[in-house]
């Protein structure tokens, strides 16, 4: 049985165009104590990030999405918030992400499908890295 994590107070922006996946992951992460903001497209994610009052510690984004891909979203948000933590997720194991995206240690990739424990492990690796600060500050 997974125990609640009352100490966790971090906020995650979850960007996933598959609504069933988004809903399931949001519930699972909420159960782990994270505050989760869900966007079902890259454009909505940009709007939500802009409107959100408070820090966003991490963005989890699907890679392949219509109109604005996860890569384009990453490039957009990184321009505005250089310190942003970013976790790409994709059902394509060969997702088109270049090595440059992972050079700074603030970005990672997790192939679908994954257990929630694996997802939380990837989240913690990014958030617990040195010099961690909230990535999106309003």
């Amino acid at each position: 049985m997974t125990k609640p994590h009352p100490a966790v107070t971090e906020t995650i922006l979850l960007v996933e165009d598959d609504e069933a996946v988004a809903a399931a992951l949001a519930r699972a992460l909420s159960a782990r104590g994270y505050r989760v903001i869900v966007a079902t497209s890259g454009h909505k994610a940009v709007c939500l990030a802009d409107e959100h009052c408070g820090p966003i510690h991490l963005v989890i984004s699907d890679v392949v999405m219509p109109k604005m891909s996860g890569i384009q979203l990453f490039d957009r948000l990184r321009t505005w918030y250089p310190a942003i933590r970013f976790l790409f997720i994709s059902g394509f194991n060969d997702a088109p992400i270049s090595r440059n995206h992972f050079d700074d240690g603030r970005t990672s990739f997790l192939a679908k499908p994954f257990a929630v424990g694996e997802l939380v492990g990837a989240i913690r690796s990014l958030l617990d890295a040195e010099s961690h600060q909230p990535a999106l500050l309003v």
């Binding site: 049985m1 997974t2 598959d18 069933a20 996946v21 809903a23 399931a24 992951l25 519930r27 699972a28 159960a31 392949v64 997720i89 994709s90 059902g91 394509f92 194991n93 060969d94 192939a111 679908k112 499908p113 994954f114 257990a115 929630v116 424990g117």
Partner: protein, 223 residues
């Protein structure tokens, strides 16, 4: 080049002297050869011999030789090459011969050397054409495999999304209060989901870019 590897030659010339001359040269060069004197005999021989090189007689004007050429083209596609012997070398004869599908035309009188060199050229043309066909068949096969691989990757993606949601839901259920019986059922459901994941991963494995095999292809040889 051994005799076994040389293509068979069918010599279909009505004139007995020319037929014997050309057929004799082909035999001397090591080609398995059949010589016939009529279109009907040529047609029968073609069906039984699987000839790679056919030498036909191209009479002045549309006639038996041109019809035979057209039939050969229909029957063998491009899997054999056709050389024609003609009595004239005017523009009309050349046009007629090429239109009927011959690959080479030699005009009487011809020498031993001319026939020998023409047969060698036809043999080389046949080898090149067969190589091209093999390359085309391989390209078609690879295109088909690429489409299958792409379909497998799409299939993997389509399955991985619901599997991700399924894992999350199962974990939420596992974290809620449950009886030992339902816990066992949930553990079994997770195990079955893992099976699906393994199958999908294995299915798409050959399509992964890191698994691509690079092999040499001699496109220059297939012109």
């Amino acid at each position: 080049m051994t005799n076994q590897r040389r293509p068979s030659v069918l010599v279909a010339i009505a004139d007995a002297t020319d037929r014997g001359f050309v057929g004799g040269i082909a035999v001397e060069m090591g080609f398995p050869t059949i010589s016939v004197g009529s279109e009907a005999a040529a047609w029968r021989a073609l069906r039984s011999l699987d000839a790679g090189i056919v030498i036909v007689e191209l009479p002045p004007g549309a006639g038996e030789g041109t019809l035979l050429c057209e039939q050969i083209r229909k029957f063998t596609s491009d899997e054999c090459v056709v050389g024609a012997v003609a009595g004239r070398n005017g523009d009309g004869d050349l046009r007629l011969g090429l239109a009927s599908g011959v690959d080479d035309l030699i005009t009487r009188p011809f020498s031993f050397g001319q026939v020998t060199n023409r047969l060698l050229a036809l043999e080389q043309l046949l080898a090149t054409r067969r190589s091209l066909h093999e390359t085309e068949r391989e390209a078609t096969r690879l295109r088909w495999l690429a489409e299958v691989g792409q379909a497998a990757l799409t299939f993997q993606h389509e399955i991985n999304n619901p599997l991700t949601a399924l894992y999350a839901h199962l974990e939420l259920l596992q974290s809620s209060n449950q009886t030992s019986a339902s816990a066992a059922e949930l553990a079994s459901a997770v195990a079955q989901a893992r099976r699906i994941q393994a199958v999908v991963t294995e299915l798409a494995q050959p399509s992964r870019s890191s698994q691509r095999r690079i092999t040499e292809s001699r496109l220059q040889a297939a012109r």
